[in-house]
Amino acid sequence: MNNESVIKSRFEENGKVFETGAPVTGAVSIENAVAVGFGDGSIRFFWPDNDPLEVQAHSGAILSIASSNDGVITGGQDGRFLKISTNAEVEEIYNFGTRWVDNVAAYESMVLCSSGKNVYIWSDENDKPKILEHQSTIGGIAIDQNGRRIAVSCYGGVTLWRLEKNKWKSSKFAWKGSHGKVGFSPDGKYLVTTMQENELHAWRIRDKASFAMSGYPSKVKSFTWAGDNPYLVTAGAKEAICWPFDGKEGPKGRKPLCIASGGQQNATFVESLPGEKAVFAGFRNGMVLLSELSEHPNDVLIQNPTGSEVSNISISPDRSHILVGDSKGQILWSPLWEQ
């Protein structure tokens, strides 16, 4: 949208815009860079001080990206599970042939991915992956803060795997329906999933007490954690919906905070601003707002509507820059603070 009457935000004024032509499918922090995965199989590293570096990694879209000890790991539609260093070295960890590698995750030197119904885990000691089997195709995987538990979502709920005496033991957190993305709360006490229906589901791990967070007008494609409470911040509505996870019962029976209310369309991506009680919300029309986690929040415009859905928002590891990516491949890379 090259509408002259649109007033540019400070971020658009001071930042750089890149038109890559390929949808942004994911991004992650690595060393002092933000690594972005694209729909044409390429990876680009964005640094605060240097020009971006492009690495052609997969053929077909990159489906998932995570950062490990010594590079980003990616899963692609070409069936390859790769590790890519910040100086552009590409190493193939495994090749699944015609099967997509849908999800990847890492903890220190342990890397894992899912393809079809299985999770494959590589640790230092051995070259052969450990395989964890599930009853249906895996929607999402997550590793907890200590690297001792892996949550795997699929149709019918979440399987929680615990490493006990070098063996992975499973326990099932059941809820009818198809579960997508999964995550642990920062304190490791809750599991949260997005669902095929317009809602999220959560379990308290201790007693498997579970509850739904519903009322969304569209599918919830993104969630994150923000603030000290903490709040579970979610996309899927015209505002960023933030559920309080403090206290014994979490959000059960409580109202969520609704912030970032200036977007006219549903939010498609949310990200927290580390160290601050603030949240970025990206919308379906490309608009991005920064909003405070409070009852009466102030909103700051980061990006005007671009016409394409916001598919990623990332903050550089030194908190100096913000990256916004959309489904048509536009990247905004901008200093976060006044110079």
Binding site: G39, Q77, Q196, G329
Partner: protein
Amino acid sequence: MENRSSQVPVTVLTGFLGAGKTTLLNRILTEQHGRRYAVIVNEFGEQGIDNDLVVDADEEVFEMNNGCICCTVRGDLIRILGGLMKRADQLDAIIVETTGLADPAPVAQTFFVDQDVADRTKLDAIVTVADAVHLSTQLGEHHEAEEQIAFADVVLLNKIDLVDQSQITGVKDRIRKINPYTKIIETNRCAAPLEEILGLNAFSLDRVLEVEPDFLDSDHDHEHDDDVTSFSFVSDTPLDLEKFEKWFGNLLQTHGQNILRSKGILDFKNEKDRYVFQGVHMLMDASPMGPWPEKSIRNSRVVFIGRKLETMNLKEGFESCKSD
């Protein structure tokens, strides 16, 4: 809503093992030069598909928690279609090959239920490849064979060189009894013109207006209670909107499981627009489609394809919707 032209058409190929799905698929892929297809195959798929973008699917059927008891969708399609839409290269079309025993309803329902799928792709048509030699036996033995005919926008009646004319007539009558709306193309080695198979837009509401069913005389004798049949009704008296909504809503609520497909063009009293609907089980798409064209006969026509239709008092129900 995304721009309609940005929706990638999806053709679903059904049919029993050995009917000729792979032959048809390879014809589409080799004869349509310069067009880019993604082909979604199932794990039991026959080998030898000549395309650089082949994706394995699991035919995972999911129940939706939306209070609709027959609402099942194909979870793998939601995942794969979503993934394909993340690619940088533009696809001209997507072809989904199903196993011989697959029920087409969850495939069709996926396009009604999942908003992301509906925004970026559209169900173009369900094409069923049938073996002229074996179809009659298969219809008697497998529910899935009947469903594949019931859902088909096109039936490719293949291998006709192996049967005589009376057998062809017999099997075509059987197909029409299940689904009077379907187009039957007689072929050998699936050698049908591809423009009669691809780009049909069969699930758009405008197409309901264009396709005239082959109305059969209402002889609904059949051997089993669970045979798939079709009923169609015409009314020259305008219908009452409120009465119709009440009857039809209640009908889908109580009998949606047994109504596989429904379509209709409706003339409501005091409404200048024609109304068009089409449904799969309990899910329905309906819309006014502009004023009746001049010189056209204003009447209401509805067709139901399903099981146990004779228990639903369809004729009485439809008659009761007539305006006073």
